[in-house]
Structure formats: structure tokens, C-alpha cells
Point group: C2
Chain length 661, copies 2
Amino acid sequence: MEKKYEKAWLSYRRSRNAQNTGHFGSVFTNGTGVVAETAVSELQGAAKELLGCHMERGSWEEASVRLILEPNCGLGEEGYEIRESAGRLTVASEGERGLLYGVFACIRLLQGEKPLEGLSVRKIPSAPLRMLNHWDNMDGSIERGYSGDSFFFREDKVLVDDRTRAYARLASSVGINAVVINNVNVKGSATRLIEDDYSRELEAMSEIFAGYGIALYLSINFAAPMELGGHESADPCDPQVQQWWKEKAADLYGRLPGFGGFLVKADSEGRPGPFTYGRTHAEGANMLADAVASYGGRIIWRCFVYNCQQDWRDKKTDRAKSGYDNFMPLDGKFRDNVILQIKNGPMDFQVREPVSPLFGGLEHTNSMLEVQIAQEYTGQQRHVCYLLPMFKQVLEFKTCCREDHDRVRDIVTGRTFGQTNCGIVAVANTGDDENWTGHDLAAANLFGFGRLSFDMDLSVEEIAEEWIACTFGNDPEIMEKISKILMMSWPTYEKYTSPLGIGWMVNPGYHYGPNVDGYEYDRWGTYHRADHKGIGVDRSPTGTGYSEQYRRQNADMYGKRENCPEELLLFFHHIPYDYRLSIGKTLIQHIYDTHFEGASEAKEMLDIWNSLESKVPETVFERVQKRMEHQASHAEEWRDQINTYFYRKSMIPDEQGRKIY
Amino acid sequence: MEKKYEKAWLSYRRSRNAQNTGHFGSVFTNGTGVVAETAVSELQGAAKELLGCHMERGSWEEASVRLILEPNCGLGEEGYEIRESAGRLTVASEGERGLLYGVFACIRLLQGEKPLEGLSVRKIPSAPLRMLNHWDNMDGSIERGYSGDSFFFREDKVLVDDRTRAYARLASSVGINAVVINNVNVKGSATRLIEDDYSRELEAMSEIFAGYGIALYLSINFAAPMELGGHESADPCDPQVQQWWKEKAADLYGRLPGFGGFLVKADSEGRPGPFTYGRTHAEGANMLADAVASYGGRIIWRCFVYNCQQDWRDKKTDRAKSGYDNFMPLDGKFRDNVILQIKNGPMDFQVREPVSPLFGGLEHTNSMLEVQIAQEYTGQQRHVCYLLPMFKQVLEFKTCCREDHDRVRDIVTGRTFGQTNCGIVAVANTGDDENWTGHDLAAANLFGFGRLSFDMDLSVEEIAEEWIACTFGNDPEIMEKISKILMMSWPTYEKYTSPLGIGWMVNPGYHYGPNVDGYEYDRWGTYHRADHKGIGVDRSPTGTGYSEQYRRQNADMYGKRENCPEELLLFFHHIPYDYRLSIGKTLIQHIYDTHFEGASEAKEMLDIWNSLESKVPETVFERVQKRMEHQASHAEEWRDQINTYFYRKSMIPDEQGRKIY
């Protein structure tokens, strides 16, 4: 029944040279907790497999590696310093988690065959909270999961086994310090996860997680006091409801080591919430926050709230505006242990969206950036789509909320407003497939997300190279070719799918494959408004006014089509097909060109991969090859459907006379 | 668990006048079989409920009603004559089924308060086989079922209870003489229906059916010899396979009274068939035919065979051609107890299709017309759509296969080619809803299909009036208003859905609600090819050539756009939006106009129904009202999506300046 699993980027292959073996004779640590123990044993395991060194414990004086807790060294509990001098390696931190992260950093250096001599590295994690959200259901399915079933749940049972530890190692090795194991849509038996029913398994799981410095969080059902507690309401202002949650929190924090808190999706897509009782999201979140505050607990509150019963004929209502409209009036009203979890864009994980205006809007509210590595709309782990370049762009976006330190990364790392309850979270892409992520190259997103959350100064190329070295070794040809595939992949995917930020041209429901009008006459607020003359949604001040939700400078940029960055042109403006883009070609010609290019690049990526046949393990080669062959042909389907759709609407021929069906 | 059910058109209400009571004092029959017994007890029951007469059995001399078997009277086993003279009513036939049909005819007269004096009616059923196909699955679901779950199956069990008899009464009362109880897609436990597993229940069921003159048929899985018999193939030319089916037939005919034979969907939409073994459909069907021949059994072989993996870019392949292409070469190759079951049109039960060219094409093959009353594409029993006018048009279609007697009705009744194994079949619209058909008005299709199959000379207005009188009584206002709704309903549905025969503008999969491009880029061969300039599929000789599958005269009619009947214009031709139709308006204006009209008529039908509030039973009134309110608003959704789609493509404004979104 239980499926095998591989080690992903922690698959240690023996080093081809012996430059670093001298450093790994023995290890000392002054840490006495479980995480320090984890650090030592991870180091020992890696030294053995990578270098053939059997590391003993040694004294402070003798040990060749020292993992040292140094109070007040300025690194914090999670930061670390690695110093090498005279054949001795020191990893220092104020906390054991810092030591563990330092050890994993050393291991990455060894995997990359980097020399340790004279090394001096100092890292403090960028984001305080570095989180994964798993949308795993208790029946074992995963909402928007594309790599098998859940390894957390099966048939209403919580699974705790070797794979739980293997997962915790992977997550911790890249710096993840918080994990939500269950789907934000909490229904059925998942509502009972906070009951005694699953206490034994959750205790065992949180213990494993705690050993790797990971806090376990649970998604909760806002209506739990009714469904479990027999109360007649879940009104956050009802003292009985408040009391019920207090008791629930006391119970959970009493028995789950390092328990983090709750994630809540309320009043969204049919989930219950405070609106039912005429209360605000702040009242809802604060009630829960009060219940967990004395344990240092946090409430993560999702901002994905919109009207999902829209009429396509209504051109005034704009789903993009709903997050800001709902949450801006509440700025400053949330407790200090509430964090708003805000999707990167105002819609829903499309291949290209502007940054949510809540970033830079909210000034007195903790916020956290939510991205999705599950590729729901970006190829579902069947297409290669290395998403780190997108995440990086989002983080570097200048919100203009002040003169400097105004980027999204400044906000979510606490630099802008001095917050400490903030960070970044990804909807995870794992499942019980042997390689964890279905597509082997999708693991670069999991690895990369963790690495970027820990160190936002890393370039996306550096992250790709680290992952390739750890996963496939650092053969220059492998490095160059897989890097090339990864770096091409997001722009290529964007080229052959929906153009210039318009999004949503997918099959409704499962969100895979082209369907230009798939959502056009539906109730989800996701329209492209294409007619014979042009396409795009007018979100300027004379349209829906969404652009005005940004700070002045950005509002001016987005509000006028001549200032608007062209990759987002159709998100903000309705543009005639014959409009000339800055590169001199018309919009329609740009659509044709990018689609021909995208499909051709998908084929090119396949060719590059095929040239690696002798270089990567056969199983991996074939798994990836099969998916990339599908991608190449599916990209042609995208190309042809999109091009035909626009040709049939506009009847403007391709200037190059290529085949449009 | 078991749901209640109503009596539909067999709900007898007490007559308001006593004109006919004198005739129903006593009854005599010289029939000695079960069907004659049924006829007597049906007559007794109706006389009691309708007239308050308690009918005794009487002698030939004394009885006021005589049900008389008269050998060689020229009526056949199923025909009947009703004669009234001097207060005495005689029903005569050569067979007991004829007596039963005669009795039901008398009952309809009583329900309609018609006088019996001097009556002289002689009827011989038009179609030898008058069949219903139920697409019921063993788990209790019904494929394309819109009126609850199955009353034949539940949780892999066969149900035989009071409702079985109630169903048989309904079917028999309108002349149905053959019923297939299980879905043509035979999978899982349905494959085992021909095994001993269900013998007790099927015996009981076929006994009930036989009492009403109905032959039970079963859909079979062509791969049964492998799945059940452990054979390595299902090759129809393999003697072991042939032997397996022979034994199976011997077993079934041995234990099921009046068992009819098998219905087979082979090599279609993923179902197994003879193609797997390089055999023809004739070889497959004949093998089965040989197995059942000695029992007088029949094999009904469906002609719904096409490539369901088509590429939308391919404009040469035409799904419409596949039935003819597959079966014409086999004309004359089938055994005499094989009947080809041919859908009315070449596609799949759209609101408007041309008649399949297999009618009039095949000359030496038994054929049966298949229609669908389940309304899969015609409103799914949520919209009113009285389909008899469509069926009538199909039956009256002149195939031009000879000088006269060349209509579809001539072919399927055996008049053209002298066949006796032929007839008409409907995919049924029943389920375990209390009123049998979900929408109360949908019962008119079930009633009407049976009546038309028995008497193709009936007009669709007469059938509607018969059904209304039996169901609601013959109050003139009820009669006029419900007739009006029924007679409007098909043209109205056609107006607000896809225009001029093009079809398919529905949501993929569940086939409900508008989605103009829903199937346009899919693999099902169902395209409209709409671009900025026009719409329609060129099936002329210079297009796919489908029109050439018809006999010369029809080929010429369909092949040229100026000769083509306009209701099928877009089925046969790609037409510019500014093309002027014979009524003087452009195609695009016709699309706009019909959609505004259709939505407005849907509202008008609702208004008519609402005016009947005091006239029909409250439960029925409310059930129908709810559905008609939905229909009226759904028709607006259709109107707006279709009009917007074409406006956005053509940018040609509505001449009347009405609102197009």
C-alpha cells in the first residue's frame, strides 16, 4: 500500500574529489535540544554518504566541526554563521534551528563540490515565517494536487511514518519553519482534526516536525463550534463560542509540541465565516487570536474573499477589487498575532498578474505573501514552469507606499513597518508520487521557494543551480542545460497560453488546457471581454477603477495604457487588435508571434532534455521526457486554439503567413 | 426507501356524465392467456374508477363487452377492431395483445368522455417493434436521466416491485411492446445481467412484462465471453465464443418468459466490438443473431459509430458521415433477425438535424428509427420540449429511395422493403421521481412516442390532446392552454438555442446550458466553425461531401445553399452573417431575432401555465411552475450568451437596437 519515495535534492552522491574530507572527522555541539541533535545526525549522515567520513562526537577542543550556540551574536534563533579556518569548521547561531540551517547549508556546499577553505558566510533568514500550505484532504485526495495522493492522510486517517520524517527533512533543509497539513477548505472529518480523535497521530507528527524546527499548523472550519461543539452559532462575539475556542486552543497547545496556530479561509467560495453573523473579518480573526495568544500562537487569515456568483453581463463589478475592498477598511483592526495571507495577485495564481494592492496598502496589519507552487494554472506539474522568476518579480515590486524599503519583500520581511509576524507561504506541490512532485523538474519550485523565503538576495539562477547540483550533481553540461530549461520555462509557458496578463483561458473546473471562452460567460468574475475589435478588461479609472487601489505612482502607471507595463496591458486595458505595442508590432501580431514562439520553445526544451539521456538516471530521464513530450504537443494545442480564436474574431491574418487553422 | 409514484395518464377520474355506463355491465373473452386476463382486469379497473361500474364476467351471449379472438380477421396479433352496436361493445383481434391495446383504446375514449355509440375503429400498429431503451445503470443512476434514479436497479440489485407493474401498464397502454432495461454502455455488474446472478429477479420482471405484452430485452457487453466466460477473446468468428453465446441464449430463453433479445452498442465511444478482431459489424451481429435465432430472438445493433478522437483542426473528417460510411457497405450482409438501430440524425439528438442518410440508403437491412425522449440536448426535462413534431417530421421525410412509399415511416414500418423486423425506439425519459418524468409535461413525450409508434397517422395535435385529456381531463381551457404550450415548445426551444441546425452550443459533458465554443476545439467532431464573417459547416460536395450520402434529389437539395431548407442551412453550409435568408433578413439578424423571440416565448409559456393555477392539482401546478420559471430565466441566459457571442464576432448591431451585452 505504502508507496516508495525518493530523496529528491537530499540524494547524496559520493563526492568525486577529497578536498573536503579533512573537515569531517568529528563534531561537537553545545546545543542540548532535539534540533541540535537533528543537526548533528544530518551532518553525520551527509558526511558519510557524500565523503565516506564516519564522524564521531568530539570535544569542543578537538572537533573538526563545531555547532555552537552563541547567545547575543546577532544572528537570531534562525540565522547562522559558517566559518572555516585552519581545517576547522564552525557553525554558529543563537538558536538550534540556526545550527540546523547552517548544517544544511554546509551539506549543499558539499553537494556542489565547493571548497570550504576560508569560508565565511553569515545568513539571517529574510522572512520570519516560511510556510507551506498543503491542500490535502482527509480522504487522501489533494485539491489541485498533481503528484499523487496525500502522504498526510488516507481514508480519514492521519498517516505518520517514515515519509513524514523524509518530508520534514526536505522542508527543513531549505528553511521551511511552518507547515499546514490540511486543505483550507475544511469539511467532513477534517473539521475533527482539532478534536481528540487524531491526537495520537498529530502528536507524533508535530514531534517529528519539531525535531526539524517546523511548527505544525492546522486549517480550521470556522463553523467548528457548531459542528463539533453543538453550539447554535459560530458568532465570534458570542462568549460561548469564544470560550469553546479557548478550550480547544488550551487542549491543542497542551498536547502538540511546537504547535503553531490556525489557518482560516472564511466567507470565501462557500466556506462559513463571520459575515454570517454580521461580524467583520477582524472580529472573526481576533476572536481566534485571543484564544491562542497566551501560547504564542498565530492566526493566519486568508484574504481570498470575492463574489463568486457574478453575472458576466455586469461590467461594473470587478473581482480584482474585492480583496482590497474587503480588507483595507480593517487595516489596524487585527490583533498582533493575526497575519493576513495575501495571494500575490488580485485574482488567483495566473501566469501573470499585477501585485495585490493590499501590499503597500495595509500599513498596520501583519501580512504574508501567498504564492502557489502547485502550478494549478501554470501547467499542473505536467508542463515545466520554474516559478521563482515570477516570485522574485513580485518580491521586488515597488509598492510606493513610502520613499524606500517599499518593495513587497520589505513588507513581508518586516522591514517596511517593523512587523515580526509576517513572511511568505506557498501552496505546496507535493504528493505521494515517488519523486514527490510528479514532474521531477517541479521539485525546483519546492526547493526554490524555501531557499528564496530564507534568502531573498539569492538570484533565481543561483537557486536553480543549487537545486541542479544537489539533485543531479554539478556536471557542467547538466548544469547548463537544465538551467536553460528552467529559466526558459515560465516565459515560454506565458507565451503559448493567455496573452499579456489577461489570464483564465483554461478549461473551467480543472483549469488545464486551452479554452478561451471557458470562463467568459460564467459566474467567477474572470472575463477577457474579447470582441471583433479588441480584448482586455478596462480597469482604469474610467473602467472598473481597480488601478486606483494602488499608491498614486503605481495607479498612474497602470491607469494609462501608454504607461502600463505591456506584460499586463490586457489586465488593465481593453486594447484594439491593431494597437501598436512598444516593440512596433500590433497586439494581434504579438499574440500570433508569441504563440508560435512558445510552442516552438516547448519543443526546444524537449530537445534539450533529450540530449541529456546519458547524463541523468534512466527513471528520471524517462519520467521527464514523457511529460515534456506531452508539454510540447499540448503547447501546439494551446497555440492553435488561441491563434484560431483570435483569427476567427479579428480576421486579421498573420503577417508571416503561418498556419492558423 | 421506496419512493411513491403517481399514475400519470392512467390516473382515472370519475366521469361527469353517465353516457357510457350502460356499456360496462359485464365482460366476456375467449382469450385464455395472461394477456387476455390483463385486458379484462384493466377494463374492470377502469370501468370502476371512471364510471363506478362493477363489471362481472359474463357469457358470450350476455356480456356487454366482448373481447374476442378472431383468427384470420386480418388485424394480426396486435391490431384491433372496436365495434359498438346496440349497447354492446366488441373488441376483436387475432391475438391477445390486440385485445389489450383495444381495451386501452376504449379506456382513452372514456377518459376523453367520448361517446361510444356506433363506434367503429380498426387499428393495426404502424411499427412492428415499438421499443423503449432505458439507459439505467446497476448502481441506480441513469445516464442522461433527468427524473430521479432508476426504478429497475439500485446498488447492483434488480428491483421488482409494484412500480415494475405500474411501469409496464404505462408502457403497454400506449402500445410499447419491447423494453431494454439497462444502459447500452454495459460495464461492471451490468455485464452479469445475463448470468444466473439475477435470474430470479429477471424472471419475475419478464413475467410482469409478458402479462402486458412487453418483451424484455437486455443490453449486452460484447466482451462478455472474456469478462464472464474466461475466454481470451470475444472474436465473433471464434467457435468457442460462438458456442459461449449459444449456451447463454439457451439459458436466457429457457428461463425468461417472452425474452426478446439483445441490444448492442459495439465499437462506439470506447465500447468493445468486432473491430478489435478485424471483424465487421455484420460478423459481430450475425454471430449473436445465430445464437438467438432458434428462439425467435432479435439482435438490435446500434449504428452510433464514429471517431471520438477527432482533431478540431481537421476539416475533412466529418462525424456526420460516419454512420453511413460504416454501415452502407454492409447492406444485405446482416441476418434477418438483426435490426440496425439508427438515430434520427447523423449526429446525436440535437434540436434540429437532417434525417440520417442510412434511411433510404439501406435497402436490404432491417432498420429501426431511434429517437430520444430524454431531452439530453433539448432541455433535460427542465425545459418544456414536446418532441413529437420533430419525430413526425422525421417519419414523414421523403428519402427518395423510390418513387413512392419512400418516407422514413414507410421504411421503418416495413412498407418500403417488406421487412417485418423493423420499428421505432426511444431512449426513455423515466426515473423514480413521483411523476415518472421530472417535468410533468415531459410525460407527453413518453405517451406520445408510444402512441405515434402505434399509429403514425395520428397528428401531433391529436396526440397532445389525448394526453391532456387522460392526464388533466378534458376541460376546454386546460386543453387549449396546455396544447398551446406543448405545440410552441419545440420551436421555442430551437429559437433560443443554437441556430439553423448547427447544434452543439452546450456545456461539454453534461450538455445543459449555453456554451457556444464548448465543443468547438474538442475531439468530438462537433464544430460550428464560426468566424468574423460567418458560421456553419460546409458539408456540400465541395466541403466534406456529406450531402452526397443522400439520394440524388435530396443530395441536390442539401448540397446547394439556395436549395437547402433554411432550418438546416448551417448544418450543410458555411454562411456569411450578411447573407439574406428567404424571409428577407440577414443571417445575423435572424439569429438576434429568434433569440429575443425564443426567450420571450419561454416567458409567455410560463404566463400561460400560471393562468392554470386553479385548474390543475396544486402539486403538479407548482412542480411545473418551478421548472418553467427556471426555463424562462435560462432562456434569457441562452439569448444573451448566443447574441453576445455573435455580436462580439461580427460587430454587426441589432437592427432593432435591443440590448446585447
